[in-house]
Symmetry: C2
Subunit: 243 residues, 2 copies
Amino acid sequence: MWGQEDKVLGVVGGMGPLATQLFYRMLIDMTEASRDQDHLDMIILNHASMPDRTEMIRLGRTEELFQALLKDVKKLEESGVTAIAIPCNTSHLLVDRLQAEINVPIIHMIRETVKSIKERRVGIKRVGILATYGTIASGLYQKACTEAGIQPFVPSEKGQKLVMKIIYEGVKGGNPIDYNDFIKIEGELATNGCEAAIMACTELSCFKEMYRLPDYYIDAMEVLAAKSIQVCGRKLREKEGAL
Amino acid sequence: MWGQEDKVLGVVGGMGPLATQLFYRMLIDMTEASRDQDHLDMIILNHASMPDRTEMIRLGRTEELFQALLKDVKKLEESGVTAIAIPCNTSHLLVDRLQAEINVPIIHMIRETVKSIKERRVGIKRVGILATYGTIASGLYQKACTEAGIQPFVPSEKGQKLVMKIIYEGVKGGNPIDYNDFIKIEGELATNGCEAAIMACTELSCFKEMYRLPDYYIDAMEVLAAKSIQVCGRKLREKEGAL
């Protein structure tokens, strides 16, 4: 759309807005650039009014969610984007169905994340999955990990409640986060022999950034950002080479 | 586009990308919200490949710039946005011409900023204008200030060069900023009796945020964010009331 040779990244975002904003920031920080024009052209849909993903899955209304997402990816396709990124793990439940309806490739955050772990953390045996109920219920991370020969660990019901509290009350709600909640989650990961854990919800990517958590926590959104830059034909900054 | 009653903000961004990303962040931080759905729906065009604004003005190629911007605002209008924000001060040279071509209102960052100064900094007599050569040459800030009874102060050629260095080498180029450059600019503002200075380039809004500069520096982009939230029918957070 902006000149014939230009590649444009389409982003279905706003799920939530803070996470998409961080995704945007990552794309900028991770691109090799010394002037505006070296950066990616993008169309970012901040679709904040999108129905809550986990809630729709819980209520059995995924069809409604699918239609809303389909409208957005079709809009981006019509705008002439090169590839589409959806910085929301829970929505990935519907990515294969969305992909079947459009020709523009949707970068699959979950498969790319597990592929990246396999390539970059050679020999890793067990990883924790920190995600919404919706993502956990979809089983997508568990399946991708198992296929890659990595054992997925899902927190107990008690731990999962704390994960949801950080996502909904903390990051999405904008309320103060009780870091003790996270210490309890870390305890479960340690006790269960996890060598790493995936921040498999983009609000947890924000949480990782807020607290500058170490690389024990693998950020799925960061993997999506790196892949988006590459798919659009731009170079990653040197320091990002070892992501 | 996302339900009949929803209001959608259109953003012509990417000039530069880091500034638009900060604008996005401001919109999120300044909106009264406790869940994703309380935030603004938006379509953000990160048009990074847009020709450099100051350079086009210098070369007498503003018509080309106008056509590129026109395509973007028309695209947003066709998408059904409620209002358009352009977080780039230099581009405002063309906003009246763009507005004449579309029905959707474009929020005028420069006029809104001077209006906000007049309302909130009662009795202020003289303000510095820190901006690109292009914005200074357009005379838009000088005119708006003069009409509001405020004396505009434009840095000397030497000071202006330092402003451009911070914008282009520092923020856009991603190189380390020599803070001594800014100290010299501050010296000029002080010597010339400025009671405040306008960060009249969105890269300087980024600079203000990076160094957590005090409210002596009035951020035009922050004014644009506040106005955008209000135009789209959302509330500002309490703390933003005294902006």
